[in-house]
Assembly symmetry: C2
Homo-oligomer: 108 residues x 2
């Protein structure tokens, strides 16, 4: 599995909590957990990640709003993206998500 | 243990995530977990909860800022308060915190 970040286990808890403080972004992460259920219309293999366009169709929000939400998730380290031609594909960073949940549980 | 809310296990995940999206509020919750370590100067018994004044002294923020942070935590259901004379005492709502962590883990 490719490692898109320099240190995949380093997390910024505050940045992640800010990213999760919007229900749409939590929905995005939840949908990506079961892509075959939520993004079955995607023509590209789901293993490539989920195309930004798919999120737009799924949630009905504008391209720019979806793009901002995905960017927020990516900056927080919760998702990774890869570009194929004009399209960006997003997938969950399971290692970061697990590290965050573990950190939060230890803190709270 | 008194039950200060109508349904102590009902949580609003988004409200809680918003409340946690500020590091000071996470600090407050973390300090309240070990009150004898962080609030040993309090004259009232720590079992009463932690007086708002104690948070001010501990973090150096103004009374109104601390009050706003504590109110945000309380509205999210993460802490409970009780009033004794002119003072408000705060304590963690362990049941809500546990329910939130469990819910978040199941969602993410």
């Amino acid at each position: 599995m490719p490692n898109h970040s320099q240190d995949s286990t380093e997390i910024d808890k505050t940045e992640i909590l800010k990213a999760l403080a919007h229900p749409v972004r939590v929905d995005f992460l939840e949908w990506m957990k079961v892509p075959e259920e939520h993004f079955s219309n995607q023509l590209h293999p789901l293993e490539m990640g989920i195309c930004a366009k798919q999120f737009e169709e799924r949630c009905g929000l504008s391209q720019s709003t979806v793009s901002t939400h995905l960017s927020t998730l990516e900056k927080a380290g919760l998702v990774k993206s890869s570009r194929v031609g004009q399209w960006a594909f997003y997938s969950r960073d399971e290692e970061k998500i697990a590290a965050f949940l573990s950190d939060l549980k230890a803190t709270l």
